[in-house]
Structure formats: structure tokens, C-alpha cells
Symmetry: C2
Subunit: 195 residues, 2 copies
């Protein structure tokens, strides 16, 4: 049976995923999950520890979900980048990634306040991408570009909600990259592993 705290944590994830992490305060958060500020402090110790637990759990789930993606033998012939993109747009993953992107941006201007909530290498796909590029095309520039395309399109979906257009754009990029590297696959599919 799930402990009280575990069920609370579940509701809190749902709440924060809806609402984002900017300007959260205890009492509205407590009301939204059907309890009191008193109880949140009781179960989690402090607001800071509460957020740490919730965000850690979110990042752990993303990590597990990503591992699942990598373990399954790739059924389709689509490019690894496109598979990764489809994974990111799945509802559960998207909602949590959105919060992490927001956190990422907040930390960029106020690292003292928000930096501690970002586990290192969360949302930092750079090394993974670079490691996975074929030696011939391995370069920080290309890896940075790939990550930027992903980030930029994800944010586009966050803002406009237009998944079809963004997905068309990522296909356009994959086509460009294929031509650029003379028909070689842009990235191999293994080893998004160490994200």
C-alpha cells in the first residue's frame, strides 16, 4: 500500500507539471492536492526539500522512460533523432520535460535560487550526442547544433502547441543532415544512453 507521503508526491507532481515551478507557494499547492501547508511541511520537512523530492522524482522518471526507449530494439527505420523527438512528445514525458526546460531557463538567470533543483546533466544531451556521432562527423559544432534544434523545437511546441509543424521541421533537419553527411545516418541509435 502506498504511504500517505507517496500519494501526496504523486498529486504534487501532477500539480507542478500543470503549473510550472515559478512562484509556487505552500498554501495554494496544499489546497490543490487536498491538504494543508502544515501537512506538506510535516511530510517533506520544508518547501525546498519538497521541491527537491518532487523534481528529483520527475527527473528519475524521465530517466527511466528514456532507458526504456533505448532498450527496446528500434522497430522503425526512422532516424535516432526522430525517435528521441517522438519520445519527448509523448504526453507524460512532454509534461515533465516542460517543467525542466522552465527550470533550466530560470536557473540561467538566477542560478542561486533555481540551480540546486537541476540535477547535473539533466537536459544536457551534448556529450551524449557527440559520443554517438560517427568519428568522421564528430564535432562540437554539429553536436551543439543537434541539441539546439531539439531544444528550439521543443520550446516551439511548448509555446505554440503545434506539434505537426515542429515535427515537420525536425524531419527537414534530418534530411538536411543526411545529405550533408553523404547519406550516412546522422547518429547511431545506441547510446543516447548516458543522458
Amino acid at each position: 500500500m502506498p504511504t500517505r507521503k507517496a500519494t501526496l508526491l504523486e498529486s504534487l507532481i501532477a500539480y507542478l507539471v500543470r503549473r510550472g515551478v515559478a512562484d509556487v507557494s505552500l498554501r495554494p499547492m496544499a489546497a490543490a492536492v487536498g491538504t494543508s501547508a502544515r501537512l506538506l511541511i510535516f511530510h517533506f520537512g520544508s518547501k525546498e526539500r519538497l521541491l527537491l523530492e518532487v523534481l528529483d522524482e520527475m527527473q528519475a522518471r524521465l530517466q527511466r522512460s528514456l532507458s526504456d526507449l533505448l532498450r527496446e530494439p528500434s522497430l522503425t527505420r526512422s532516424a535516432p533523432l526522430r525517435q528521441f523527438w517522438d519520445w519527448a512528445l509523448k504526453d507524460a514525458n512532454f509534461a515533465q520535460l516542460r517543467v525542466l526546460y522552465q527550470l533550466h531557463i530560470l536557473a540561467a538567470q538566477d542560478h542561486k535560487t533555481y540551480g540546486r533543483f537541476l540535477k547535473r546533466n539533466s537536459l544536457n544531451w551534448l556529450e551524449s550526442v557527440e559520443a554517438v556521432l560517427k568519428p568522421l562527423q564528430r564535432s562540437p559544432a554539429l553536436a551543439t547544433l543537434i541539441v539546439a534544434v531539439f531544444d528550439g523545437l521543443f520550446i516551439e511546441v511548448m509555446s505554440s502547441g503545434d506539434r505537426r509543424r515542429a515535427s515537420a521541421a525536425i524531419d527537414e533537419f534530418i534530411a538536411m543532415a543526411r545529405k550533408h553527411t553523404h547519406g550516412r545516418r546522422l547518429v547511431r541509435k545506441r547510446a543516447w544512453a548516458r543522458s
Copy 2:
């Protein structure tokens, strides 16, 4: 002679550009610009109107700076996208763009709170880019991709500060795009105008 309010607005821009717009409050802001919360309310009416005025002014300055870029006859042979990129990395432009990107992300999850501070079409380069593509290569997918590359790389610079790597990445993209479109220039230089 600049009115008191104008000099305050100047300091406020500098303060918010340093600090970002998340979790601002009157008294610390007032202290940072050498006045009191009382005076800020006196001059601007309310905290909300203050932020509106400051952010409007920031966006207006960006708009003017961008117009300057477009008016000057392009001295270099570099791609329009690269010229735009260099413009965005200029210190004054970068600092203000950073705030608008943060605002953009905050509004994506909490439109009710932050949406009103975003003037429509600020940071929305999509139509401009699409209008500027040569008819042969004009497509929502390509325009979306170009915007996403720019956004993603800008955010990368916001987070890591590594301008050289990001600039190399945008050059890589331009090279890819040139090859993709058989040597035609990716975008013409006029008409980033209607941003």
C-alpha cells in the same frame, strides 16, 4: 533634461536585465535603483504598470536596434542568419533578449501571469523568416527549423556562455542549408524587417 521617472526607468532596465523578471518585488528593486517602494508606485502607478513600462521599453529598443541592422547596407558577405545571430550576441541586445526569452518560457506555462508582458510578435520571427525564404524553398517546416536553430542556440549561450561553440554550430547549420538548397542563399537579407 531627463525627468526623474526616465532616469529611474533606465536603472530599472539595467536591474531587470541583470536579475530577470521572475520573483521581482518592489522593495529590493527600489533599493537596487536607489529609491523606495513608495516612489516606484508614485512614478509608475503599480508594480504591474512598472513592469509593463520597463518591458515595453526593452522591446522597443530591441526593435529599433533591429531596424538599424536592417537599414545598414550589409557590409559582409555572411549569411543573413549569421548577421542576425551576431546582432543578437551584441551585449546590449543579448541582455534584453535574455529577459524576453525567460518571459517567453514563463508565459508558456503560466500565460495568465506572464502573458500580458509579452507584446505580440515579440520573439516571434516565424512569419518574417518564412516571408523571406525564396519561393522555391518556402515552407513552414524550413522556417520553423531556422527559428528553432536560432532559439536553441541562443538558449545554449544563455546557459553555458560558450559563444564560440554556438557560433560554430550556426555556421554548420548555414553550411548544411546552403548545400541543401543547392548553393542558393538561405534567406535574403531584406525583410527581417517586420519582426
